[in-house]
C-alpha cells in the first residue's frame, strides 16, 4: 500500500481539529494538529519535509489564515493547502481569487461532507 501523505490541521477550534483528525486518520493519513498560527508554523518548521498537505482555517486568533498560506507557499512550496472555513462561501471573492492566483489549492466550506474532503484531497494530492 502506498504511503499516504502526512497532514497538518490548523484550526483554533479544538473540536474541529478532532473531527478532521478522525476523518483523516480513519482514511489512513498521519495527522498533526495545531490550534494557532504560531503552533502551526512551529510544526511545519519541525516536520516540513514530511508534511504534504495543510488544512487551514482562515480565521486564526494570532494571524490571518491567508497570510499564513502565503508564507507557506513562499517557504514550503511543496505543501498543498486546503482552506477550510465557515467565514467565506465558495463563490466569494477571496476564495475565487485565491484559487485563481494559486494562493491555495482547495477550498472546503464548513459544514462539509466527508466525501468532499476525500475528493478534494484526491484532486490536489492523488495517492500514488
Amino acid at each position: 500500500m502506498s504511503e499516504k501523505p502526512r497532514v497538518l490541521i490548523v484550526d483554533d477550534e479544538v473540536d474541529m481539529c478532532w473531527a478532521l483528525e478522525n476523518i483523516l486518520m480513519l482514511e489512513g493519513y498521519k495527522t498533526h494538529t495545531a490550534t494557532s498560527g504560531k503552533e502551526g508554523l512551529e510544526l511545519i518548521q519541525q516536520l516540513h519535509l514530511n508534511i504534504s498537505l495543510l488544512f487551514l482555517d482562515v480565521k486564526l486568533p494570532d494571524i490571518d489564515g491567508l497570510k499564513f498560506a502565503d508564507f507557506v507557499r513562499q517557504h514550503y512550496p511543496k505543501i498543498k493547502i486546503i482552506i477550510i472555513t465557515g467565514y467565506y462561501y465558495r463563490d466569494s471573492d477571496p476564495v475565487q481569487q485565491g484559487l485563481a492566483n494559486n494562493l491555495f489549492d482547495g477550498f472546503i466550506g464548513k459544514p462539509f461532507n466527508i466525501s468532499e474532503i476525500r475528493s478534494t484531497i484526491e484532486t490536489i494530492a492523488p495517492s500514488q
Binding site: 473540536d15 473531527a19 476523518i23 480513519l26 465557515g86 467565514y87 459544514p111 466527508i114
Partner: protein
C-alpha cells in the same frame, strides 16, 4: 375780531384774551371752535400746521369745507357738533383718521366740548384733536407681537401653559388640548395638579412651591392624566414670569410628550440594532458554522464507522455540544434583536457587558484583540433597560474593533463612581480620534469607515441610549495611542 370790540374791552379782559390766544397757540393739540352755524371761529396754530392751512382758509369756513367729505361721512362730525349745541353735553373720546394732502395718515383722538354762556346756552363747541398716531402704531406693534407669540404658542408641538403664582391654569395651548384631551375652558383657574397623575401630585405641588421661591425646574418627568384616564409621560420645564419690579406674576410651563418621542426613539434604536447586526453578520456566520461543522462531521463519522465504540461516544458528545453552542449563539442573537420593552429593571452592569461580549468575543479574538477585564464584582445594581444598554455596549465593542484593525488591547472596566452612579470604561489601543473629529463622533451617520463597513449610527445611538438612561459619555483620545470611552450611569432613575 372787530377793532371796536377790542376797544371796548377792559385791560384785564384784554390780558385774559391774550393769555387764551397764547394757550391756544402753544397747546400740543389741534383746536377748532365752531359757532352755531358750524363755522370756524378760532383755529389754533397746531391745527393749521397739521392741516397745512392758513388762518384765512380756515376761520369763517363751514365744517364741511374744513374736513374732507370721507371723514365727515364716517365721523358724522357735523351731526355730532349739532347735537352738542342742542344737548349741551360733550362728546368724548373718538378716533379719527386724517390724511392731509401729501402727508401720511395720522390718527387723532377727538373730543367735542360745549362752551356755555351765562344764560346756560351753548355759545360755541370746541373740537380738540390729539395726534395719537405714534401711540396707535405702538399699540399695533404690541398687538402684532402678541399675535406672533400666540401663534408660536398655539402652533407649538409641546404643551405650553401659563399659571398664576399659585399654580392655577391661565392659558392652555392647542398641543396641551390635543395631548390631555381637556380644552382650555375646562381647566381655566383650576390647579395644574388636576391633570397630574396621582403618584406625581405631591411632586408637582412641591415644584410649584419651589418655583415661587425662585427655583427653576428643567426636564422633570411627570405623568399627565388625560381626560380618558390614560397616563402619558411628560418632560416639564418651568420658568417664572416676573414684572419690572422682579415680583413673580406667574409661571410658564412647557411640557414635551415623551411617549411620542420614545416611540420614535425606539424605532430608531431598533433599526440601528439591525444595522449593527449587518456589520457583524460575517462574524456571526463563522460563529454558527463552526459548531455546525463539528456536529456535521461527527454525525458523518458516526454513520461511516458505527462499530467503533470509542468514536461513537465521542461523536455523540461532539454533536450534542456543537448543537448546544450553535443554539446558544442564536439565543444571544434573538435576545439582542428583541425590541426593547421600555421597562427599567434592576441590572447588573457586569452581566450586561459580558452577555454583549459573548456576541462578539470570537470576532474580536480573530481580529487579534486581547480583552482585559477589570470588572468590579461588588458593583451595585442599576435601573436600566438592559437590552438597550447591551446595544450601546455592542456599539462600543464594534467601535473599538474598528479602531484596531491590526489588533490591540481592549480593556473593560466597571466601577462605582463613589456617589450614585456606575462607570463603564472601554479603553482601546487603536488609532485614536483626531481633535477635529472628536466633536462629530456622536453625530448620526458620521463615520470614517469606508461605505458598507460602518453604519455611522453606532455612537450616535449609544449616545441616545445613554441619555435615555440619564447618563453621560466621556471621550478621551490620543491619535495613534487609543481612545477611552467612559459611560456613566446613575444607579437610580430620577
Amino acid at each position: 375780531m372787530k377793532s371796536t370790540d377790542f376797544d371796548n374791552m377792559s385791560l384785564s379782559e384784554r390780558k385774559y384774551e391774550r393769555l387764551c390766544t397764547m394757550i391756544f397757540s402753544c397747546i400740543p393739540s389741534s383746536l377748532l371752535m365752531f359757532d352755531r352755524n358750524l363755522r370756524v371761529v378760532i383755529a389754533n396754530k397746531n391745527f393749521l400746521e397739521k392741516s397745512r392751512r392758513t388762518e384765512y382758509e380756515t376761520v369763517g369756513k363751514h365744517v364741511d369745507e374744513i374736513f374732507p367729505s370721507v371723514i365727515l361721512q364716517y365721523t358724522r362730525l357735523s351731526e355730532r357738533i349739532r347735537t352738542v349745541f342742542e344737548t349741551s353735553v360733550g362728546d368724548r373720546g373718538r378716533e379719527m383718521y386724517y390724511r392731509s394732502p401729501g402727508l401720511p395718515t395720522r390718527v387723532y383722538y377727538y373730543n367735542l366740548t360745549p362752551l356755555i354762556d351765562n344764560q346756560g346756552v351753548v355759545e360755541s363747541v370746541m373740537l380738540i384733536m390729539d395726534d395719537i398716531t405714534q401711540q396707535v402704531s405702538l399699540r399695533e406693534k404690541v398687538r402684532q407681537t402678541e399675535r406672533h407669540l400666540a401663534g408660536v404658542v398655539e402652533s407649538a408641538n409641546d404643551i405650553v401653559t401659563s399659571l398664576d403664582p399659585k399654580g392655577m391654569i391661565l392659558t392652555w395651548n392647542n398641543a396641551a388640548e390635543r395631548i390631555s384631551g381637556y380644552i382650555e375652558r375646562e381647566l381655566l383657574s383650576k390647579p395644574l395638579t388636576t391633570i397630574c397623575a396621582d403618584t406625581h401630585k405631591a411632586t408637582l405641588v412641591s415644584i410649584i412651591e419651589g418655583l415661587s421661591r425662585g427655583k427653576t425646574v428643567k426636564h422633570i418627568e411627570l405623568g399627565l392624566k388625560t381626560k380618558t384616564g390614560k397616563i402619558i409621560p411628560i418632560s416639564w420645564s418651568f420658568a417664572l414670569m416676573r414684572d419690572d419690579a422682579q415680583a413673580v406674576v406667574g409661571i410658564v410651563g412647557v411640557g414635551q410628550d415623551l411617549a411620542e418621542r420614545r416611540e420614535l426613539e425606539s424605532q430608531l434604536f431598533h433599526s440601528a440594532k439591525l444595522a449593527s447586526l449587518g456589520v457583524m453578520a460575517g462574524g456571526i456566520a463563522h460563529e454558527i458554522r463552526n459548531p455546525l461543522g463539528i456536529s456535521s462531521a461527527a454525525a458523518q463519522l458516526l454513520l461511516e464507522y458505527p462499530e467503533n465504540e470509542t468514536l461513537r461516544k465521542e461523536c455523540a458528545q461532539k454533536i450534542y455540544s456543537g448543537i448546544k453552542r450553535a443554539s446558544q449563539i442564536i439565543e444571544e442573537l434573538l435576545k439582542f434583536v428583541r425590541p426593547s420593552e421600555g421597562r427599567f429593571e434592576l441590572t447588573n452592569i457586569n452581566d450586561a457587558v459580558m452577555e454583549t461580549l459573548t456576541l462578539i468575543e470570537k470576532q474580536l479574538v480573530l481580529m487579534r484583540i486581547e480583552i482585559k477585564k477589570n470588572l468590579d464584582r461588588h458593583i451595585p445594581l442599576i435601573e436600566s433597560e438592559k437590552n438597550l444598554l447591551k446595544q450601546a455596549f455592542l456599539n462600543m465593542f464594534l467601535n473599538a474593533a474598528n479602531a484596531m484593525p491590526d489588533g490591540g488591547t481592549l480593556t473593560l472596566t466597571t466601577a462605582t463612581d463613589g456617589k450614585n452612579g456606575v462607570l463603564i470604561t472601554f479603553k482601546d489601543t487603536g488609532c485614536g480620534i483626531s481633535s477635529e473629529n472628536v466633536d462629530k463622533i456622536f453625530d448620526p451617520f458620521f463615520t470614517t469607515m469606508p461605505v458598507g463597513k460602518g453604519t455611522g449610527l453606532g455612537l450616535s445611538i449609544t449616545y441616545s441610549i445613554i441619555k435615555h438612561h440619564e447618563g453621560a459619555i466621556l471621550v478621551e483620545s490620543a491619535v495613534g495611542k487609543g481612545t477611552s470611552f467612559t459611560i456613566k450611569l446613575p444607579i437610580k432613575k430620577s
